[in-house]
Amino acid sequence: MNPPTYRNLALMAGAVATAFLAGCANQGVRNPSGVPVTEMKADERGFVAGTGIESQDLVTVTDKMARSILGIPEITNAKTTPRVVLEPIMNETRFPINKDIFLTRIRTQLNSKAAGRVRFLARENMRALEREQQLKQDGLVTASQDPNVVQFRGADYFLTGKLQGMSARTSQGLSDYILYSFQLIDAATSEIVWEDSAEIKKQGLEDAAYR
């Protein structure tokens, strides 16, 4: 081959290299695709879309609480079946949630897996229950028991909880720690007869296109 052709090839190769080097638009950006969220110190690991409260957290936390409640002497050694009323939990995190879902799942877990060892009172249905009792007292509907005798049970315990969180955000990513704590309170003495907690920390980094 003649020398000018080599020069041309060298020129083109240089030009191609320049184009590709200059084309690295993401150069200097760390983790341009972002870092997937990782769950830390949790019983289960799975794909999560955010650092907030998600379904796998609900399952992990409520399973742990239901197991824990069934192990306490106030439940296992009770002479009569303890009656429990659910009190709304307090959300102190930065994540708006359906708060009732935690207590609902604990209740369903206890009702399905420990039938009879603990009973829950349907206080959220009191208005309907009172209306029904009134209808019975008025003789408008039939009653299998004397409607003038109060049948509604009183609570032996209140089950409630609190969600608290700590969050951090820097250019390196964001992290959220949430402490889920639940209590069983003796309705007669106000003593906290049981308390347990679960904690979950998550962190991640968004795609560079959103940073």
Partner: protein
């Protein structure tokens, strides 16, 4: 024979270059499955604004929940975002979630609606999330500096029986304006908004610079007229100010690099084409002329295909400023007027409202905008 060899050589070279460029450009040209609308969050934002202004709070909740579900997490491995970072797509190829000031407003509005539903703790969660979103700014002096959000965090905490002093003190440090006391006994919360919020434009030679343009409005304040009382609202936050104090983004760096690529390939293309013309004029080697011409065209093509424009999609129905007041009213209906005033105190817009205070409801929440819809 030598002409044939030369032709084969140049064709191979041009083919290799084209292949290389197409390979790099694959995300732009490859067939893709149907994806969700990349603007759906923006549409939800705008729908929520309009619904709030016409008092359709149920619809506003649906729109905001849809948007917050999408923006509440961390966006990773999003195909649109990858395209936005590539050379061959503008930034607007990505799923729109909005700049921090836009995401903050989505949480702020949702917080108001939670409070309206009697869920002060979820409202507080929204205000905390909003303030958290504002934490990642270049100049830390502007990090988490929404006065209203900290104030409402403190007020919600106080109403829930907690100690709201920390949040209140944070709010007080963020403003030189007088801050209303934390009045947990107040049973009526009036939220107002007025003025034009920020818009976005792309500047720079290659439109790679995102610039926020503050909206303008003659309205500077608001007063609630209730009987013979005129209660000024605490206008604590300026959305335009918040939008312009974020500082640089990582994406600005990406767009800057794309602009450098566009410029450098364009320059190389110009030089190569000029070299080809000069070579032809001076009777130089036909190989050299052809090589320079092909290279020049390819580089110019790469330059032209490079997309550098910053994303100017914006929640354009946002207000310029937001205000708030908490008052204690007796149960029953109260006819009131919210007057939006200019700097001389003259009303520019008046909105009549009926405040219905229920005896058992913890708080009555009113939302009034200077724009009806």
């Amino acid at each position: 024979m030598s002409h044939v060899r030369s032709l084969v050589r140049w064709s191979s070279l041009a083919g290799a270059l084209t292949l290389a460029l197409l390979t790099t450009a694959q995300p732009a040209f490859a067939a893709k499955p149907k994806k969700p609308d990349k603007d759906f969050i923006l549409k939800e934002y705008q729908a929520a604004s309009l619904a709030l202004r016409r008092g359709d709070f149920a619809s506003a909740k649906i729109s905001l929940d849809s948007a917050i579900t999408a923006i509440g997490g961390i966006v990773v491995d999003e195909a649109g975002a990858k395209k936005a970072r590539s050379l061959w797509s503008d930034e607007s190829a990505k799923l729109f979630i909005g700049e921090p000031y836009e995401r903050v407003m989505a949480f702020y509005y949702r917080g108001i609606l939670y409070w309206m539903d009697g869920e002060a703790d979820n409202a507080r969660a929204c205000f905390r999330s909003a303030q958290f979103i504002d934490a990642d700014v270049e100049n830390k002096a502007y990090a988490s500096d929404y006065v209203t959000l900290d104030y409402l965090d403190g007020l919600a905490t106080a109403k829930l029986g907690g100690d709201g002093k920390d949040a209140y003190e944070r709010a007080a440090k963020l403003t030189s304006a007088p801050l209303p006391a934390l009045d947990a006994a107040g049973n009526t919360l009036v939220f107002v908004e007025f003025g034009q919020g920020p818009l976005k434009v792309a500047e720079g030679k290659n439109k790679e610079l995102l610039k926020v343009v503050p909206g303008v409005s003659p309205i500077t304040g608001a007063v609630v007229k209730l009987g013979d009382q005129a209660i000024p609202l605490a206008v604590l936050d300026d959305v335009n100010f918040q939008a312009t104090t974020r500082g640089g983004r990582v994406m600005d760096h990406v767009l800057g690099n794309k602009a450098v690529f566009k410029e450098s390939t364009g320059t190389v293309g110009d030089v190569a084409l000029a070299g080809a013309a000069t070579s032809l004029r001076l009777g130089g080697s036909s190989d050299l002329s052809a090589g320079l011409a092909i290279g020049g065209v390819l580089f110019k093509g790469a330059s032209m295909l490079t997309k550098t424009k910053a994303d100017t999609r914006a929640w354009d129905t946002l207000p310029g400023r937001v205000g708030f007041i908490s008052v204690k009213l007796a149960p029953g209906e109260h006819a009131a007027t919210v007057e939006f005033i200019d700097e001389t105190g003259k009303p520019v817009v008046s909105r009549p409202v009926v405040i219905k205070v229920a005896a058992e409801q913890p708080d009555t929440v009113i939302f009034v905008s200077d724009r009806a819809s």
